[in-house]
Amino acid sequence: MASDPLLSVDGLHVYYGSSHVLHGVTLETGTAPLSIVGRNGMGKTTLCQAIMGLVPSSGGEVRLGGERISGRRAFKVARAGIGYVPQGRRVFRSLSVDEHLRLVGKPDGEWTVERIYGTFPRLAERRRNGGAALSGGEQQMLAISRALLLNPRLLVMDEPTEGLAPVIVEHVVEVLREIGRSGVGLLLVEQNLTVATEVSDRIMVMMNGEIALETDAATLLNDRALRNRYLGVSAEA
Amino acid sequence: QEEETITIGGLATLEGPFAAPGEDGLRGVELAIEEFGGEIAGHPIEMITASSDGNPDVALESARRLVEQDGADIMIGPLSGSEGIRIAQYAKEQPGTTFLNGGSAAIETTLVDPAENFFRFNTEGAQWTAPLGEYVVNERGWDNIVIVSEDYSFPYAQIFGFMATYCEAGGTVQDKYFTPVGNNDYSSVIAQLPLETGEVDGMYVVLGGSDAVNFLSQYAQMGGQLPIVGGTNVTDQTVLTTQGPARELLPGILSSGPVSDNADLEAWQEFVQRYQDYFGDEGLPSPSLFASNYYTNTKAALLALQEVEGDLSNDHEALNEALSNLEFTSPTGPVSLNENRQATAAIYINEVVEQADGSLALEPLERIEEVDQYLGLGREAYMELGLPSRDNPSCPS
């Protein structure tokens, strides 16, 4: 291949103790956003964590822009250019909103603390609140902001719209689309099919630790049987 | 032909702050065995050791190990007072073993319900200080003092011995200050103490190890100038080997005890010489009180063994009999036992002096012969006094 893809995952295996959770996941993505959907407990979070170096993989490799990042410590992976929004928010309970942002923010770069406050005015209103003293949705906004402020080459987002009010979800979708346009890669894990299909055209379905299906947004939205088969959806969405 | 080996178990504190004295105590045991060529009447003498940390539970555990597991025939030890009480009590469970004290100096060990097979050839805490009380009244003319002491049984015994003769000689005690064990900032006690002589003539201090160093230097820091007499532990090796400015405060302090570094006594000098020859750089510059006490007790055991030619039959009947009647010359002079199997021996009144080489040593001012368990009061009168405590004794005013 002429140029290396932004992210390539090749035959990734992950075990928790003796339970085999990822069975050789292979995927590639460039600057166009990619969404991964799938039922609960299929291994989506595990995949994100394995990419970030937060759980050890026992086979396969992960490359970022051609550079091998699997096996590296998480902070090196992050420094290589991945911004991570974890599932469950994981904000620092003893840091205020403002401290969160200043901790990762840099004065130069695409995303600055001021821009974040502009994007999520709610955070500006709560800038002195501690991480534990935020509502669920506010925490989620903070977790997204934290990743954006790293100005990464690739964003890995694990259900970033969980707990967000519908208007904010729309807003986040806007932001993610804009990010996609600006040449930053996006790997989005979503339960909300609407969000997944609005943000990315390419969709993968994960099942039992494997990429079971790769398709495009329109197909998934229109093909009820397909959804039924891979996501267990019976009624129309 | 080769006779059966006789095992001597040495028990001392080899852990914690008292590890150094403990090690020196065991050197005393080793030295005594070596003096007999490691053999008595054809019986090879084997020495085994176990450690305690000053805690009676641990001492007991180690003693059991020496006696029941390793088959020690003769036990020497332990080092500290409350351990000694516990071991003497254990001796009753083990009539087949002969116990000799190591360094411990609690009064109760040989006074309250003493064990038949427990022998103490060293003098105890109250004996050590008894002559000193009389001395400060008669020789120094002090008749009003304050006492500063740590709050537990050994200092009680030391104060008990001291006051027994001090009050008798007409002295009074203005006040006693007991500081809790584990305290190291004495400034608030010092704030209540007189700094210069006047109403009060001197201060009797019973604090051990670093506590003594802390107290003395803090007292000096606050400008205190009262003359000081110390308990035996104020001038022991751990204090005399202190490094740093506190050293300058020590010379001139009076104390009393069973040994004196510079005693003009042949037996002592011989002992020191032997100690230095045998241990060289490994030992202390001069043997400590503990080396001397462990040595004395071990030597008594070996002498008695020699007398009975290693006969340990019938629960050591012969050996114990011989020990009870044994009289010999220890490094500090002649020793003998009373009916409680407690030593009667000489006590020194000492002054701390700086030697030519800069080290500190105890210079004898006086030697008092044959101080017995009853402090010269006779059994009846002594038993009247009861056991020492915070409030016992107090000079009748």
């Binding site: 902070f75 003893s94 | 852990e15 200050y177 400034s187 608030s188 670093s210 820091q221 751990t238 204090v239």
Partner: protein, 294 residues
């Protein structure tokens, strides 16, 4: 009535000063402990050992060079390095498992105590203070008071303010708090968390070393002091609230005051009062006086 007038004000003033200066010493010792505990949630049971090591190093160096300040510097550096080594070689392997770390440091303290005993024996050491501070200063009511002890207050202030600035005015404080909340997440934001932790541990240990030299000069050092100062640090931090530098100051003050007044006025139970204060504080504020709710 008479008894009231009878109060010995000079004694009271001196005892109060004693309490203040002892509090300063406790604060200096506890500050490093509080730093490590508050920021990294490591209960460093080897803190007392680091204190003792600092005192011995300070003694050796100041004896050899004749300079007390060099002694302090050497203790800070050597003990700081020892702390860093402890973090790298043992504690970093169990980061986040606070219980296991506490246990490991207990192991370290046992070994350290034994090795220091082998090296320096059971004698008491005292570090020579510079001549300038071995004097008296006049103080109202109390009469005069030892300069050496007053100096403690100065040290405590310098250390306290320095730490407070570091924690509240720099990014370091934020980094560390975040690292304690969720270490893995912080790493995923590109922060070399292990390095930060080593740094903090070194500073905390260095403070213990400095405290050792100061304590060894004003009082003295000998085996056994390690447990004593570990315990006082524990109580100071429990009372004051973990990780709070002003809390440690208040904790030190309460504990030292209880101890000195106790010793002066009711010697028998002086030490027990300290614990009574602790229990009383806990009953009202389990996170300590200035601690954040856990």
């Amino acid at each position: 009535m008479e008894a009231l007038l009878d109060i010995n004000w000079r004694l009271f003033a001196i005892v109060t000063l004693n309490g203040l200066t002892l509090a300063s010493l406790y604060f200096i010792v506890a500050s490093g402990f509080s730093l490590i505990f508050g920021l990294m949630r490591v209960v460093n049971m080897a803190h007392g050992s680091l204190y003792l090591l600092g005192a011995y190093i300070g003694f050796e160096v100041s004896e050899a060079t004749g300079s007390w300040l060099l002694g302090i510097a050497a203790a800070a550096v050597v003990v700081g390095a020892a702390g860093a080594a402890l973090q790298v070689s043992i504690l970093s392997w169990m980061q986040g498992q606070d219980l296991r770390q506490a246990l490991a440091t207990i192991g370290v303290s046992i070994v350290a105590a034994d090795l220091m005993l082998a090296q320096w024996g059971g004698s008491a050491y005292q570090i020579t203070l510079p001549g300038a501070v071995s004097s008296f200063v006049p103080v109202p009511v109390a009469g005069r008071y030892a300069m050496a002890r007053l100096m403690l207050i100065g040290f405590a202030l310098v250390i306290g303010i320095g730490l407070w600035l570091m924690l509240n005015r720099t990014r370091v404080g934020m980094l560390i708090r975040a690292g304690v909340d969720d270490r893995r997440m912080l790493e995923a934001l590109g922060v070399n968390v292990p390095l930060v932790f080593v740094g903090v541990f070194a500073i905390g240990a260095g403070l213990a070393g400095v405290a050792g030299v100061i304590g060894g000069s004003v009082l003295s050092v000998s085996p056994g002091e390690d447990a004593r100062y570990l315990l006082s640090s524990l109580i100071v931090v429990i009372v004051g609230g973990m990780g709070s530098i002003p809390g440690a100051a208040i904790g030190a003050l309460l504990v030292a005051m209880a101890e000195t007044y106790g010793l002066a006025y009711t010697p028998t139970y002086g030490i027990v009062y300290t614990f009574a204060i602790m229990v009383a504080v806990l009953a009202v504020r389990p996170q300590g006086l200035l601690g954040r709710a856990a």
